[in-house]
Amino acid sequence: MGEGTSLFEDAPEIDLSRGRLDLALVRLRMAWRTLRDGWAVFVESRIGVLSLAIIAIFALMAFSHPILMATVWTPDVYDPVTGYAFDRFEHPSPPDWRHPLGTDSLGRDILSQLLFSTKSEFILGITAALVTVGIATTVGAVAAYYGGLVDSLLMRLADLIIALPGISLLIVLSALFNLNLFYLALIIGVLGGFGGTAIILKSQALSIRVKPYIEAARAAGGGHFHVIFVHIIPNLLPLSLLYMMFTVTGAIFAEAVLSFLGLLDIRMSWGIMIHTANTGGYLLAGANYWWLIVPAGASITLLCSAFYLVGRALDEVVNPRLRRHDR
């Protein structure tokens, strides 16, 4: 694959007079081609494919929880927050066939907690990523399109935000407000959207802005709003998909840290599981109570790394210069 096929160089070569439907069709066809070519490069990265598989497994885990609860697991025993394993005399109890990952110090089933939390992590990560992408594409496109004062203001704001240590800021915020999952996703999304992601998407938007079809759209009488939302933003989306991955990593990580420190208003999550083990004093008991910390700790690390590595593999798709010599 040569330089000419760089994925974002393709401009939709269309006759504007042919109408919306054709535009949509051309776009679909292009998107399909981009996806297909991109996928071909992506699958060359073994790490990327492996990470994608890990994400898929976690997604299956998230879906399995409600199914298990509705079929084999009775809520009074297996509820991740209020359940209690009556069949055990001592808690935390080690894994066996009824509780494959054992129970925590409050007698709750660890596997159920793990699966339940997976769902919240996905919801958190994806919400934060969607907010980030929504804001960042708009900010990037607007800054690139208008330039001048608007651009400077938005970019200075972004500089300010990336200069802030995010976790520390969230810790401060948790002292002032009651943070739940939704607010957390929102805050992380907004910080990401106005921060680093906006800067990167803006530089991409700048290169789109100078493409002939933007000029053509302007000449054909398209308003600012029309050009930004119909022509610039759709072309930014593939790149923003890449940065979604990094936002997901950040969001899951931040949630876990704050939960671990006991600063969030959340019922159950991987971070809370470790927090519970920690406050119970089981953490340094080491291998004797491994099931209290290893499943949750490993899940956080695995899912964060998986999203991060998928992001990096996508980076090689998007950025041909990182690829190995044409091989």
């Binding site: 200069a163 915020l173 420190l261």
Partner: protein
């Protein structure tokens, strides 16, 4: 160059202003009344309340409160800590800041060097086992759940192997009967470290200026001699064993922070190297018949360093967050742990003070990175 630095400093001042403003409005926006915090807190004696109220202008309109807040922040008056009553916030923070700085500086210095070195190596030999191993372990460490990783380090090195202490800043058993305070010893340690860095830097500078001398081993021998002389000198002070205790407590947190933060630099260096390796001047360097190592280090890596330095800001911010978490896990009494304790005990003045301190800290990181960049890139230096 002056223009560049002036512009950057202007931006810094603006950023600082915005951080302080943000701090004010966050406090205003939180549910509950800041004034009530002070006036209703039973820990604070009644006679002190009036004075505090007056110094913060808590009975004045909002805009005046804001101006007073500005003035107070700039003069370092963050009020009195609830948790450490009656010590002022600034005093609590000033005592703990050096500990954070040491943790942070040593960890970032080591992790930067390690990350740059490994990133350079894996980019130069693409597709090797090393690349896979380094990318995977790097990304895992980078995204590893920091608290769990820190606990694992404690478990392995302090519990299982028993090599290092579990956490905290010092061992009270050793310090019983000591006539000096920990801060006293620590400040001497800091002074020694600073003096050594200056000494090493000057030696290298002299070596570079005097031509031939640079190629020999002599400058490194001189620096090594200095490094040996320091512990010897400390042994004669009588407080050497106390310093050693602090040092032993420092190792694990620094190692942990290093491990979680080197990967960022490594992966970045790799990408940056891959781009510079395609540059014509790298090809030219090879064509000139320079040895591979010279081509790699003096040309490819030297240029790959520039974007890495630009992004060093993000690595530093990452490390600041990391040090907050690590201080929490290791009970290392620095600014980060102060922040966590203050948040848990709802010690608002201390929270805000710590936030401004951490903000200042990250701004300082920005300034350092800027100066470094100007020093490293002649295109900006000579403008």
């Amino acid at each position: 160059m002056t223009n560049y630095l002036l512009r950057r400093s202007g931006q810094m001042v603006l950023t600082l202003f915005l951080i302080v403003t943000l701090a004010f409005f966050l406090v205003q926006a939180q549910p509950g009344d800041y004034a009530a915090f002070y006036s209703l807190n039973p820990d604070i004696p009644a006679e002190a309340r009036e004075q505090i109220k007056a110094s913060f202008g808590l009975d004045k309109p909002l805009w005046q409160q804001y101006l007073i807040h500005m003035k107070n922040t700039l003069t370092g008056n963050f009020g009195v800590s609830f948790g450490h009553y009656p010590r002022p916030v600034i005093e609590v923070l000033a005592e703990r800041l050096p500990r954070t700085i040491v943790l942070f500086l040593s960890a970032t210095a080591v992790s930067f060097y390690l990350g740059f070195f490994l990133g350079k190596a894996i980019a130069w030999r693409r597709g090797g086992v090393l690349e896979y191993a380094a990318t995977i372990s790097g990304a895992t460490l980078f995204t590893a759940f920091t608290p769990a990783f820190a606990l694992m380090m404690i478990w392995i090195f302090a519990f299982k192997l028993g090599w290092l202490p579990v956490g905290k800043f010092l061992d009270p058993l050793i310090w019983r009967g000591a006539e000096v305070t920990a801060n006293h010893v620590f400040s001497y340690m800091l002074a020694t470290a600073a003096a050594f860095v200056v000494f090493a830097f000057l030696t290298l500078l002299v070596a570079r200026k005097s031509g031939r001398f640079a190629t020999g081993r002599l400058p490194f021998l001189i620096i090594a001699a200095g490094a040996v002389a320091i512990p010897v000198a400390w042994a004669f002070t009588g407080i050497g064993y106390l310093a050693l205790d602090i040092l032993r407590h420092m190792i694990l947190p620094i190692a942990t922070l290093t491990l979680i933060s080197f990967a960022g630099t490594m992966l970045l260096t790799r990408n940056s190297m891959l781009e510079t390796m395609r540059e014509d001047y790298v090809m030219a360097a090879r064509a000139k018949g320079l040895p591979e190592k010279v081509v790699r280090d003096r040309h490819a890596a030297r240029n790959a360093l520039l974007p890495v330095i630009t992004s060093l800001v993000y690595s530093l911010i990452f490390a600041i967050d990391g040090s907050v978490i690590i201080e929490g896990v290791f009970s290392w009494p620095g600014t980060g742990m102060t922040l966590l304790q203050a948040v848990r005990s709802e010690d608002l003045p201390l929270v805000m003070g710590a936030m401004v301190f951490i903000g200042l800290f990250s701004l300082l990181a920005h300034v350092i990175v800027d100066v470094l960049y100007v020093y490293l890139d002649p295109r900006i230096r000579y403008q």
